[in-house]
Symmetry: C2
Subunit: 417 residues, 2 copies
């Protein structure tokens, strides 16, 4: 089964919205062995949309569209679908009931505009939307499947998970099986990782390996194909062992797990609690930690000590040290980590202090300079990092380095490159 | 000039990477009146890539590709470009020098793999990369422009800003001018906004309006076309006044400005300092505030008081109040805001406490319940919000609601819907 994704919306061509939907859908389809052959964007224009529908219908077995289902005048997907399939819109009572309940539960008033969203193409099966008002549609014609989903990511995701993927699983039966494995590394550059792995053919056999770098590290994606699922799994298992033998200490997770999830699992298992003192990262580390449900079990508190006063008053950093070494120093990073650990009674304290840029550099301290501190009951130290000149990326890299320093200490992996 | 964007990489079809590049490029081209007619994704496969090059070359005047320029074996864009243009790769000494310096400045070792990145197609002009190692290329042939950029967002952006956009501006001279205006609203639903605006034709004349909702609010995008730039600007100005007359108090910014930037400007202008006490948002509010360069001038400190102990010890929330009303209550939100204001000496304190989910609900308090507190020298209050059932979206919505509450108080806009 070959899939063709169509994202609808001028905002995508004009660059006013980042298209996160195709990544979600691509990944969900890959998991059930459906290959995405195309992923195209088209504007809010009926002629272009219908042309794209034709192209998709000729070239693929499964077409999934997102966007253009909202309540306002610029949303034309429904009318394009009815025109393309030569059908009409009819009112669906169940969907209307969903919409009424959605507004009731939020204490909001139902408008005529919202009521119109219960209209769906006659030849389609509606897909209910538990997170919003626009329903999706599922159409089967000439042995092909045409799925229409809203563009709001949370709504689309819920509908993919609860309806589209289960329905597709029933219908897709291919002979060649594909399995993929993601290994997530951090703290090592792409080219260094490539060098350390050495002869790739020896590791991979007929499997494939891709390097996917971003500001949090480099993902390794291994793809194995075979006639049986178990053979794919065996191949992947063998390759994983070979890769781990060479670069294992840089790998923090399998699959799409985030470093903050990895950390959460280890802390939960060990029954340890942490506290965080941030200067330059400004709350981003605690925000990442608390993105994970259940983090209240191991995260005690965070202090965003942006001013020197906050460092002294809350974290008990010595004024002398601040005077002598400056706020961006190894000494202050250590005192911050020790301080937040002491006041919170947590087992571990971590800290950051640095210059993320673009301003703030001095003759001795350049943009990108960050110290990260780590303290537990046995050791207390701070490490120096030199990142680049982009404020947001520096924040992301510094938060990742801090979480990785925590991971390595928890797992007693030597903390050096 | 019509543009065609090609994003290269299996990770985009497999959904392992979100494609942020096309949004950036689309937006940059829209700003200089170049229309993007297509935005397609293609995998790391030479045949598909070259086919897509052909299609693009037939249909557009400007082709911009991103991705596939890395140092490893799965990066095939350079070889596809040389094949498509029937040329060869040659070593560029300046680029090699850039790469050497890049590694030197980071204290890293230069590998042979990195050295190979100084090879560029003979018929191209190299585009230097100040944030990474892979250069881009600029090719002009048969009156068409073909631009090849790396896929790493920070590198691509820098090259677009410093080289591609300035070069395109010189070459693009169209007769019909297009101007767009974005007005950013928050705290009002899309359908309510539509209703409040009333008769759109009366507001717009022959201009166009799109509603772009996300978890931070609804963007209004107005597009005006005319033969002169000044006429476009006048039209947009008139429309903006009409829209502001109806929904002005929900508009926090023009253009792509973020609410945290808006807040930063007002606080800087008024010479006011804020402090933040977060429970459920876990540091996300302070992280957003400190994303803005210069925030140290108005942001004093943040406390992520996840545990009750932290609320009592640092923020001086009363144990009685916690006992009587629970941590998720109007009373605690007010005490947190007042507490962080008092200990920091800041002019304003804001706070959050709530249940973001998926767990943590009780019989009386459901997932999505959040109290947001605001205190300055004159007033201190907390407001109740009911968000949905998605943890991350709730965090985003709660942080936006808190910043909007701050904005409305700063501008003395009545804080009610």
């Amino acid at each position: 089964m070959k899939a063709y994704l169509i994202s609808i919306g001028d905002e995508l061509l004009l660059g006013q919205t980042v298209n996160t939907n195709v990544a979600f859908i691509g990944s969900a389809l890959a998991d059930i062995n459906i290959e995405v052959i195309k992923s195209n964007v088209v504007g809010d224009n009926s002629i272009s949309i219908i042309n794209e529908f034709k192209l998709a219908f000729e070239n693929a077995d499964l077409i999934i569209t997102t966007g253009g289902l909202g309540p306002t005048h610029d949303d034309v997907t429904s009318s394009c679908v009815t025109e393309f399939f030569n059908t009409e819109l009819v009112l669906d009572e169940k969907i209307l009931e969903d919409i009424k309940q959605f507004f009731e539960s939020r204490g909001r008033e139902l408008t005529d505009l919202n009521r119109q969203q219960a209209l769906i193409p006659k030849i389609s099966t509606p897909i209910r939307n538990s997170k919003g008002t626009a329903p999706g549609f599922w159409i089967e014609k000439d042995g092909k499947i045409f799925v229409v989903l809203p563009g709001v990511p949370a709504e689309m995701r819920e509908m993919m998970r609860n309806y589209v993927i289960p329905e597709l699983k029933i219908r897709n039966t291919s002979l060649i099986k594909t399995q993929r494995l993601i290994l997530q590394t951090t703290g090592i550059a792409e080219s260094m990782l490539f060098d350390k792995l050495g002869n790739l053919d020896e590791i991979l056999g007929n499997a494939k390996l891709a390097f996917l770098p971003n500001q949090y590290g480099v993902k390794l994606r291994i793809t194995a194909q075979s006639e049986s699922e178990s053979e794919c799994a065996n191949k992947l298992f063998e390759i994983e062992q070979k890769i781990r033998a060479k670069v294992g200490r840089f790998i923090y997770a399998r699959g799409e797990e985030l470093l903050e999830e990895t950390i959460g699992k280890i802390l939960t298992e060990r029954n340890l609690r942490i506290a965080v003192a941030e200067s330059c990262t400004g709350g981003f580390i605690t925000s990442r930690i608390t993105d994970i449900s259940g983090s209240s079990n191991y995260f005690e508190r965070g202090v965003v000590a942006y001013s020197n006063a906050a460092k002294v008053e809350i974290l008990k950093v010595s004024e002398d040290t601040l005077q002598k070494f400056g706020a961006v120093s190894q000494e202050v990073a250590m005192q911050m980590a020790e301080g937040v650990r002491a006041i919170s009674g947590a087992d571990i304290g971590i800290s950051t202090t640095g210059i993320l840029g673009p301003t703030g550099a001095t003759f001795y301290k350049s943009v990108g300079l960050v110290y990260i501190g780590y303290c537990d009951e046995k050791i207390c130290y701070a490490k120096k990092f030199l990142f680049g000149n982009d404020r947001i990326i520096n924040k992301q890299r510094a938060s990742q380095a801090a979480l990785e320093m925590l991971r390595r200490n928890l797992l007693r992996i030597p903390d050096e490159d």
